[in-house]
Symmetry: C2
Subunit: 231 residues, 2 copies
């Protein structure tokens, strides 16, 4: 029944490192449900009883949260192979904290939370890997959030830019940085306004700390960059 989705499922991070036959056995034991949605359909709604971890098999969906005053804010965009609800699964929350809605026609795999840790008696070897994967996915989500908190905590725009560039430098080891984000997205990520960010970047270029053209950045004065990274 899940055969047609197999090529997608095999590449879902929760199943990394498990062979096709293992996954097949596992799905047998997890007894997942597949939901099919039309564009605009609600996949889960905020406040609804939480029961399953979701996996997008096909299509795209938005994760949104109703703010206190009533406006909906889109928080994430989900695409094929993305997971949602994985953090709620094992917390003590009983309901969905956000709404997931089909942005285009969607097919979703639901893995029952109760089955994941396994009442599968023999706790087969692939099940162990599955749980490790689960732990890894959640942990990495936490690490990303932690990093985000670090950026947001920096007060000045300059400090944010410097930290951002330094992190890239530390990861790649190269003073030449190619960003995947455009200015709007970067400004959004750092939680500042685009013109203010541009202004600050231009100043830094003038001062000879960095150079850039469109999405290509180059660190010129590494020392200065470090010194300014936490103003």
């Amino acid at each position: 029944m899940l055969d047609k989705y197999f090529d997608v499922i095999v590449n879902v991070s929760l199943f990394y490192g498990i062979e096709r036959t293992g996954i097949a056995n596992m799905l047998n034991c997890l007894k997942p449900r597949v939901g099919i949605y039309k564009k605009g359909d609600y996949i889960v709604t905020s406040g609804q009883t939480y029961e399953n971890v979701g996996v997008v098999l096909k299509g795209t969906a938005t994760v949104s949260k109703e703010s206190i005053s009533g406006n909906r804010i889109v928080m994430t965009l989900l695409k094929e192979r993305d997971i949602f609800g994985e953090i709620v699964a094992f917390s003590s929350m009983a309901t969905w904290p956000a709404t997931v809605q089909a942005q285009e026609a969607c097919e979703i795999l639901f893995l029952p939370r109760s089955k994941i840790v396994g009442d599968c008696d023999k706790m087969c070897s692939w099940h162990r890997i599955f749980i490790q994967n689960f732990l890894r996915v959640i942990s990495e989500r936490a690490i990303v959030l932690n990093k985000k908190v670090e950026y947001l905590t920096i007060k000045s725009i300059r400090g944010k830019i410097c930290s951002f560039l330094l992190d890239h430098y530390n990861k790649s080891g190269s003073k030449e940085i190619e960003l995947a984000l455009n200015r709007n997205e970067l400004a959004d990520f750092l939680n500042v306004s685009r013109p203010s960010m541009s202004r600050e970047m231009s100043k830094m270029k003038e001062e000879g700390v960095i150079d850039f053209h469109l999405s290509t950045f180059r660190i010129i004065d590494l020392q200065a960059l470090k010194a300014m990274s936490e103003l």
Copy 2:
């Protein structure tokens, strides 16, 4: 050998819901190590190879991070029964991202990461609970971080205060709120300066939206509070 710590261990969140005998068996299988530290000793240092999840059995310790420019910033204070390193355990990180140092004489339990998911063949029932606990602890850490990101993303001080109070209201259901934080801690948490926060709170009091005296707050105009919660 671990007998003297048992009353502490029983109350560690990772072991919730497991009977004493279960915990004893489990510790047998996890083969943990206990480390004893004097005040000021380094328990783990940033960059060191990651191997164990830590549990504070006795004493207090600080978690600190070296910023890029070299100053150390204390991020958390650990006390008896607190866990550290639980998020790194299952990520793909190979080294400690922060330093943990004994603030007073400390005794620490180290649970080897490799044993946690269990090469314990029969995956005993308490082991399953242990892993569920682990998942819960990490998930809840992620949820807290997520909440923190929400607060930090709000631009205005007023918005932050409103959201903060509303969250408390939603949790307790009461318009009378007793805070555990003092002004400095609250300002720190919201990442604003204390005088600026006080100024804003006073304005809101004047406007008849809230009332407060020291750590006792009262919501007067709930509608107004909601309306302002995301300026």
